[in-house]
Structures are given as structure tokens and as C-alpha cells.
């Protein structure tokens, strides 16, 4: 059931977890946010494969984040596992509701409608005093089965938590792609008529994918809110959605692991760009996107495939050479 790529992915997650204590604090924080955002990108990859590009995934990201923040503010629930799941569930519920409308649209109409919905949430957040208005509000730090870490220990714990959720989500998405619904993504993009006449509702399939993608985005938002200990309306703003689309282009749809690598690369490039050009850092980020589209149109994920192919060819050449030498 599990492939060699899955095994490499699992080893990479274990290595990333093991390296954490040796990493500088800034890198731990950066990687935590990068991996939380990678969950959103995983959801985008699911939708992208069906030919749908949502420009409003921040709707679900912000829903997950605000759910955690509100639980911390108005309830005694602090356990990170409970609140993160709650964030995912809230986002899934929102996606279930808006999905009845969104799943009926395709191409640019889907993209713009999803954007419109995220901007509605942004407007609500900005105008609602109880939700912190434009400033947002502080998020209570979580507990881990009753343990309440502080300082660097909290950062490390959040990093491991995010990595754990990331690994679980990556495993889930890998398995999902092997299911009937997951494997029908390309057929949806290719030919909806044939799918309908084989007996499946394409709209329902897209609705299911929206809910899965939103759950991942909600969990990502919840983790980010806990890591930063703050939420604000910008989490629902269109530039946040744009950032996720950017990372998805960087990752490509060929590999689940690429979502994490691309998200990490994106955060690193952005940090470095802000450091070098504090006021015009977007130039560096834009150039990075341009180069990706020009030289890696299928994203970083396609590199893994190429490397695997090169490995196979080298192995074959070595085998053939050994055979010839044997003769």
C-alpha cells in the first residue's frame, strides 16, 4: 500500500523532527509557520488536480485560526490537540455550507467566488469589535495533555505538533489520491460529461474535495494561530490566499512532500527578501515565482520525479555495464 516515496517522506519527517533541538530559534519558528501553511497547500493540491484554483483559501485558514482564538478567549479548553481539531472542524463546516454554491462553478468563476467569500469574512472580521476588529487579538498558548511549556520549549513543542499534523495530513492525502474520489481528480479536469454518464456526481465530488481542503486549511490556520499566539483579519485577506497559490505553484501537484519543501522555501525566500529589501521584498519573491514558472513549470515536486527517474536510469546503466563486464 505504501510506496518508496512514502517511506522517504516518513524518514524526512523523522529527520526534521530530530534536527529541531539543534536548530536556531528563528528557524524553528519559521519552519513551524511554513509547515502549518503547507497543510493549506496540501488542500490546494487536491483541488488543483481537478483543475480548480481557489483564490480564497484564506477563508478556511482564518476560520481555523479564529476558532482556536475564540476557544482560548471564551472557554477553558486549552489542549492543543482539541483546539486544532476544532479549528479543522469549523473550517470543514464552513466549506460544507459554501460548498453547495462553490461546487457548481469552474475555472475563473470558482476562483473569484472563493475569493469573494474570503473577502466577506475579512470584512466581517475588520468590522466586528468582539473579534478584535483590525488589530485582531491575542491567542492563549495551548497545553499538551496538561503540560504547559514556555519560551523555547513551547516553540519546539509547537514545531513538533505542526510536524506531527503535517505528517498525518501528508499520509492522509497520499492515501486519498489512491481512492476512487482522489484518483478521479484528473478525470474531472478531463471530462465531466463522461464522469456523469458513468454514474458519479462531479459536483458532489468537488464538494467533498472542498471540505477536505478546507479541513486541512483550518488545521493549518489553527496551528499558525497557536504558533504566533495572535490572529488578525489579514489571515482572511486575499494576499494570504495569493501566498498559498504562490506556494502551490512552487510545489506543483506531483508530490505531497513538495508542499512542505515549497512552503519552507517560500518562507525562507520571503524572510531573506525582507531582510535584504525591507520595502521592496516583493521584487525578489516575484522573481522567484517567475523563475519557477520558467524553469520548473510543474513545480518542485517534478524534481523528485526527475531524480527518481535519473536514479533508475543510473541503476539500469550500472546493471547493463555489469552484465557486459560479466560477459
Amino acid at each position: 500500500m505504501w510506496s518508496r516515496a512514502d517511506l522517504f517522506g516518513a524518514l524526512a519527517f523523522i529527520a526534521a523532527a530530530a534536527l529541531a533541538p539543534a536548530m536556531p530559534a528563528w528557524l524553528v519558528s519559521l519552519a513551524t509557520i511554513a509547515f502549518a501553511n503547507a497543510l493549506v497547500v496540501l488542500g490546494l493540491i487536491i483541488l488543483w488536480r481537478t483543475g480548480l484554483v481557489p483564490f480564497g483559501q484564506a477563508l478556511f485558514y482564518a476560520t481555523g485560526a479564529y476558532a482556536v482564538a475564540l476557544l482560548g478567549r471564551y472557554t477553558p479548553i486549552r489542549d492543543v490537540f482539541v483546539v486544532v481539531f476544532a479549528g479543522g472542524l469549523c473550517a470543514a463546516f464552513v466549506a460544507f455550507l459554501v460548498g453547495f454554491l462553490l461546487a457548481r462553478y469552474r475555472e475563473i468563476f470558482f476562483a473569484m467566488l472563493s475569493l469573494a467569500m474570503s473577502m466577506i469574512l475579512y470584512g466581517v472580521l475588520v468590522k466586528t469589535e468582539a473579534l478584535g476588529s483590525t488589530d485582531g487579538f491575542h491567542v492563549e498558548a495551548g497545553t499538551f495533555f496538561g503540560w504547559r511549556p514556555h519560551g523555547d520549549a513551547l516553540d519546539l513543542a509547537m514545531y513538533w505538533l505542526t510536524l506531527g499534523f503535517g505528517a498525518a495530513a501528508a499520509g492522509f492525502v497520499s492515501l486519498y489520491f489512491r481512492t476512487v474520489a482522489g484518483a478521479l481528480a484528473i478525470p474531472v479536469r478531463d471530462n465531466e460529461i463522461r464522469l456523469e454518464f458513468l454514474g458519479i456526481s462531479v459536483n458532489r465530488l468537488i464538494h467533498l474535495e472542498l471540505v477536505i481542503a478546507a479541513t486541512l486549511a483550518g488545521i493549518g490556520g489553527a496551528l499558525a494561530a497557536l504558533a504566533v499566539e495572535h490572529v488578525d483579519p489579514d489571515m482572511a485577506y486575499w494576499t494570504t490566499s495569493g501566498g498559498f497559490v504562490f506556494v502551490t505553484i512552487l510545489a506543483g501537484t506531483a508530490s505531497v512532500a513538495a508542499a512542505f519543501v515549497a512552503s519552507f522555501v517560500f518562507e525562507m525566500v520571503r524572510s531573506i527578501a525582507v531582510d535584504i529589501l525591507p520595502n521592496t521584498w516583493q521584487i525578489i519573491l516575484g522573481s522567484a515565482l517567475l523563475l519557477t514558472i520558467l524553469f520548473l513549470p510543474d513545480g518542485l515536486g517534478s524534481l523528485f520525479g526527475r531524480l527518481a527517474q535519473t536514479g533508475k536510469s543510473t541503476k539500469k546503466s550500472v546493471g547493463e555495464a555489469a552484465e557486459k563486464a560479466g560477459k
Binding site: 481512492t179 484528473i186 478525470p187 460529461i193 454518464f197 458513468l198
Partner: protein, 257 residues
Amino acid sequence: MTAILRVRDLEKTFGSIVAARDITLDVPAGETVGIIGANGAGKTTFINMITGHLRPSKGSIQFGEHDITGRPSREITRLGVSRSFQVAQIFASLTVHENMCAAAAIAGGSGGTLAQALAPLRSAANLAQAEAAIELFRIAPYRDMRAATLPQGVRKLLDIAMAVVGSPRVVLLDEPTSGISIQDKFAIMEVVMSALRSRRLTVLFVEHDMEIVERYADRVLAFCDGTVIADGPPAVALADPRVQTLISGTRREGARA
């Protein structure tokens, strides 16, 4: 013989245009029906109404014990009525084998529930079903080719194989030989008809080639101006003066019988 398909007073209008009218017929189980008619005669409209692609303006369609009038195409397919298209509807980015696996996987889940959607695609049952259909329609040599690169005849076979993989009871083929060279038409029809007969399916096929209709149909429905003008065995229906004048072109208008 028991009718598997019962059509009564079927009508379809698009504004003031009447695309189909007064269609009443029974199709017994296991029969192969050839549907003929000039372009715009209402053949495809008729097929589209039976398969749920178009909602009839009037009348009813009964499939076995089910009233399928105006029901969504996916529901009609799940009940056991499937179809192929004039332009082959296949998944161009996938290989022939992947196309068949997808079709088999969808056909395998009878109710479209969440559990079925989340079942593994490449299950032993789905793979076996896909392989059987590939063999039945003799497209095994193209197994690993992307559907977008297939020759027209193979595309047609793949389209029909995908329609049949779910074990339907009635199959409707919309111009199964359109776009295929004269030399290949009979070879393709031979493969299709032997495959469908081996599964004892009821078949309705739209065709412009009268030789093909004569050879493969048990019964002919001749359409003109949205209605059936002749209905009977090929020898009788094709000899009808109106059919010869308006459809097959073997008789000029005004000529004496």
C-alpha cells in the same frame, strides 16, 4: 417478450422548435435497435432524453420498473442505462488502462456514498473488471497509450467499453462509427456488437450507414422531423417509401412505388 424500455408520447421542444414529438415505443430486452434519420431528425434528442441529458417536455420513459423521465443522467446510468457518444467521451490525459480502471471503480460503487468514494481505486475487483473490458473490446495493444493519442476507432471502442464496464442492461450508442474510415467501420462494429451480444445487452444505436443497420439491427426506428416514421425489421423499415425518400436516399421524391 417483456419490454425493458417503454416510451410514451415523448416530446421535446426548445422554445418554438419541436425537436421530438409523439414518440411511443417499446423495446424488448435483448433487442438491437438501429436508429436512422437525416441530420436534425431527432435521433440524438431521443437518446439524450432516455439517458437524462435532456429533460423531456412531455411524455414518459419507463426502464424496467423505474420511471426515469427527467432523472439526472448519473441516476439513470446507475439504474442500468448507459451510453456512448458521437464524439468519444474519454479521459484524454489518462492511459487506456487508467480510463478503464476509473470507469470500473465508479461502476463498482452502486450508490455513490462516501465509503465508496473513499474505497481504493486499484482494488483487485476493479483491475479485473478493467482488464476484462480491455480484452473484450480488443484494445489491449493500446493499454498503456494515453487516450489523447489513440486512433479514432480505438477512441470509439474505449468510449463504448467504458459505458459497458458497469454491467448495464441497456446501452445506447450514438453514431458508433462516425469519423471512422469505410474500411474500418465493419471491423469496429463487429467488435462492438460481438462484445455487447456476449453480454446479452439491449442495444439502441444511431447510424447513418444503412449497410451497418441492415447487418446488425433486429429492428429499425426511422426518425423524421422529430418523430418515428417507420418501425420494424430492417427489411420492412428500410423498404418503406418514406424512409427511402427522406432518409436513405434510395428513392427520389415523387417517384412511384
